[in-house]
Symmetry: C2
């Protein structure tokens, strides 16, 4: 089996210094884009991880894990993008995060998954049997602190998202989202004001607690105001970053 070493981390909204690292560093062991935890783990630990990793592919739309099912596997994204979401009985959906290369799937997991995960692009992951992973975790303190560090980021990001969902207007949510996105996907390095949106309007809406119509109108409004330029449905450029930031913070 050609296992790829799995960096284990899950970061949704990164502090600046993390985003930097994600671009500048490359994990020597993982051929691919692997960051953060990879960086902080000694090579022998990486080898251990390598030994229990199983590379798997998911096509767009395929489901990795389903909320409520027994949590037998943990994953590490090596390329592509996922959405993490929860559903209500009547079908309402809240996307709690988008994951990219380097992110870890399963931090918030107990005996069963508390969320569903689905590929929004063709995606490769390293899959771990949970039992194997936990066993390794026992023997590898560095792995534990790396995971704790990831959990910290996750929690901070979650609190930001709660502020967004509970107290920001539609326009503020959209602006905040556009500011958070660049740098999340290490496969697409930051470049001037370029933002790549791998998700549909519906997914943005379900992430921001809005409807697709409101997202569409919001983007149009930003475009009309000259704050952003829509290059295509899934590519845009931020023309006035400072104004966008002001809108996101409610100062405009």
């Amino acid at each position: 089996m050609q296992a790829i070493v799995a960096p284990m981390l899950e970061l949704r909204s990164l502090p600046v210094e993390c985003a930097q690292r994600r671009r500048d560093s490359a994990c020597a062991t993982c051929g691919a884009r692997a960051f953060s935890v990879c960086d902080s783990l000694p090579p022998e630990d990486l080898d251990q991880l390598d030994a229990i990793a199983e590379q798997t592919r998911f096509a767009t739309g395929e489901v990795l894990v389903r909320e409520g099912e027994r949590a037998d596997h943990l994953f590490n994204v090596t390329s592509g993008a996922l959405r993490i979401y929860k559903l209500m009985p009547d079908g309402r959906r809240q996307i709690t995060g988008f994951l990219f290369a380097g992110d870890f799937v399963g931090l918030a997991t107990g005996p069963t998954y508390a969320f569903s995960a689905e590929a929004i692009e063709d995606t490769t992951v390293c899959r771990f049997r949970k039992a194997d992973y936990l066993a390794l975790l026992q023997e590898t303190p560095a792995l534990g602190s790396a995971l704790l560090e990831r959990a910290r980021h996750e929690l901070a990001a979650a609190q930001n998202q709660m502020l967004l969902l509970g107290r920001k207007s539609a326009q503020e949510r959209i602006a905040s989202f556009l500011l958070d996105l660049p740098g999340l996907d290490p496969a697409r390095p930051l470049e001037d004001g370029h933002v790549h949106l791998p998700m549909t309007r519906a997914e943005m809406a379900d992430y921001l607690g809005l409807t697709i119509e409101t997202v569409s109108r919001g983007l149009t409004k930003l475009k009309t105001a000259g704050v952003i330029r829509l290059l295509s449905l899934h590519e845009l450029r931020v023309e006035q970053p400072e104004r966008l930031r002001a809108i996101a913070e409610g100062e405009a």
Copy 2:
């Protein structure tokens, strides 16, 4: 110094089995209500924690930590209640959680605090210097896994709250809140349908992403429908738990 051993955990919305443990078990070392992690830590580790803990009191309204300040301390609540919140420049507030005895303050913390914390009742905490705590963490694998476990709960709770804020109606949010509350405060054991609300309507509103008026109207509506009975401003009884659950899930 008469340090009290600090159980370290932070749980906001507990799985049932945790709530059970919080009521049934008592940490032998901590005199007070101390749970979860305490249970899982061997006595020698508890002694270590004890050695670096400093007991502190906060009166209602006092601020423990302020968003953006350098994170020099971590805390463990031993009695009372806190609110954790974030502010926007114009004063809008999102409360991201309420913490009670046994909960840990600082999981989501990097070099600076990502949130503010304030006592909503007279509260006692164990305070740790962050450096001491991290040093102990290095030497104590059990502490690391306990914290990771807490982080798991936190993340799952945060995802639930995102679903609530992003996709639930006002009535559904209020019902969900009433269902989550009992059992969070170990000082007030679960008893039939009794719910104690240590917070004001304004705090509920800022937690649920609503206004005080909407919260008030929502409670009145539940009362009128016979689902709950208001015993006083801060005490109520759930008369029809099943209906309340149905409302919370959007099935009514």
